[in-house]
Amino acid sequence: MYQQLSNLSDKELISRARKLKDREAEGVLLERYSHLLVAICLPTLKNNPGTSVQTLFPSLLQRLSNGLKTQSIQKASEWVHQTAKTYFAHPDKQIPYYPSREAREQLHTENRVEKAASNTIEKQTLITQIQQALAGLSTDDRYLVEQFYLENKTFADLAAQKGYTPEKVRQLLKKAKSRLAMQLTNQSHVK
């Protein structure tokens, strides 16, 4: 059962945990992100020596479990990240997760691309739309996007070419992608 559940996507696990009240699915989902959660908690543990591992992780996991039952989660990774961040900022407050507009637009475009996988007509429309959106980007952004996604260059390569740090490259790419997603969403709304 565990093996079967671990093969499911985040979306399916969330729906199982919510609709069927499947604790096992909930466990598999939390386990999937547990190592990342540990990694982002390390600075907090280091900076606050008073914080105990025995209290931090159970309470954080409990909060995540509660959020899983009540909140609408589009992207699990974003939800985990935001929940952890709000927990560190306000340990006593339960601030609900709500995805940003950029995240929603990006998710919407990702879903469109996923749906168009077997539909050639839809695929062609999407491709032309992306080309138009790319044309709308600044030269720097377009260059970065084309080099990274189409020429399969790494962060390090691009950083070396441009003289940025890899983090800066990632940041620029993220912004460019967000703009692309926004343009595509606007195009679809106009149409």
Binding site: E31, V38, L42, Y149, L150
Partner: protein
């Protein structure tokens, strides 16, 4: 052309969803032990995912790999430990629920099967009973009247009757005035009584006792008649009913006579004390009638109790009496013989009754016809 298609296809890659880094990929990426494709996919994902990027940054800068590894295995174990018992419990609950459902379904099935089976059995029984009498009736019919006549007298009457007459006779003999009806079988004597009433008190008392006894006997008879009338279809003794009707009629006329008699008695008592010879004859004749009546009644009781031989022997003692009591006794003897299955004797008795040409003639004739 193929290049252009592949180029275009690659454009879709920008928005392809890639999963977060798993537990193995994270340290391998940090150590640079990933293939180019894998590395590119991870970086593609890192553009979107802040969680993975933050995690990588933390581990890259702080270098707390050992702590990270121990904590990540610890948290994994904690999650599994907190989930497992619950999931096992859930599985058990689910299994138990399924078993219960199956059991309840089985119970419902057997209940329905039992009801249907019972219903069909009842239906078949009804059908069988509806068809059964056609075959079974001839065998059943001769048994029933014999039992009805001989063995099943009405319980109240049969229990009360043997003790009643004695008590009543003693009570009425001591206190009551002769208001009760005289015996219906002794019409002639009653008439004689009307013509020649008793004068002295002793004679009057005797007459009163006789009247009371006669009334009792009549009551018994009526009970017997009622009993027989209760099962007219089985017994086929309708003549008795007719006889009872006649008895009733005579009874009523006698009552009237008796009343007249009493009034006349009183008048004569007051006015005159003559005609002693006539008064002597009346009590003696009434006493004979009374004994016969009494015997008849006792025999009736035996008959009702089912002791037919005793009843017949009692009735036989009454055969010298050629009056109404004798006639009734013969008729009842016939009935007894018939009940015993001695049809020859029964016929003879009924013929005698017919020959006597009394009130029971018609009933006897009918009984003869039915034999």
């Amino acid at each position: 052309m193929s290049n252009s298609i592949s180029y275009n296809e690659r454009l879709l890659k920008i928005f392809a969803g890639v999963r977060c880094l798993n537990k193995d990929q994270l340290p391998r990426y940090l150590e640079g032990r990933l293939t180019d494709i894998e590395k590119h996919l991870v970086e593609q994902h890192l553009v979107d995912c802040d969680l993975c990027f933050d995690a990588l940054q933390v581990l890259h800068k702080d270098g707390q790999m050992e702590k990270y590894i121990s904590l990540s295995t610890g948290i994994q174990q904690y999650i599994r430990a907190s989930i497992r018992p619950v999931s096992q419990l859930q599985k058990m609950e689910r299994y138990l629920r399924r078993v219960k459902k199956r059991e309840s379904l089985l119970i419902y099935f057997w209940l329905v099967a039992f009801i249907v089976g019972g219903g069909s059995l009842l239906y078949l029984m009804q059908q069988y009973n509806r068809n059964k009498p056609v075959m079974a009736r001839p065998a059943a019919v001769p048994v029933v009247p014999a039992a009805a006549i001989a063995t099943t007298p009405p319980p109240a009457d049969s229990q009360a009757s043997p003790s009643k007459p004695v008590m009543l006779s003693s009570a009425t003999g001591a206190t009551t005035t002769p208001l009760a009806t005289p015996p219906p079988a002794v019409k002639d004597t009653a008439k004689a009584l009307v013509k020649k009433p008793a004068i002295d008190s002793a004679a009057r008392k005797a007459a009163a006792a006789a009247a009371a006894k006669a009334a009792d006997s009549l009551r018994l008879k009526k009970a017997a008649i009622k009993d027989s009338a209760a099962k007219p279809a089985i017994k086929k003794d309708t003549p008795v009913m007719a006889a009872a009707a006649t008895v009733d009629k005579t009874d009523k006329t006698d009552k009237k006579d008796d009343n007249n008699n009493n009034s006349k008695e009183k008048e004569e008592n007051g006015s005159n004390a003559s005609k002693p010879a006539a008064t002597k004859a009346a009590p003696s004749s009434s006493a004979i009638v009374d004994t016969d009546e009494y015997l008849y009644k006792a025999a009736m009781v035996y008959q009702q109790q089912g002791n037919l031989d005793e009843a017949i022997s009692r009735y036989k003692r009454l055969t010298p009496n050629n009056g109404r009591v004798g006639e009734m006794a013969r008729y009842q003897m016939g009935v007894c013989y018939r009940s015993k299955g001695q049809t020859g004797k029964a016929k003879r008795m009924f013929k005698e009754v017919v020959r006597m040409d009394g009130t029971m003639k018609q009933a006897a004739q009918q009984a003869l016809d039915n034999l």
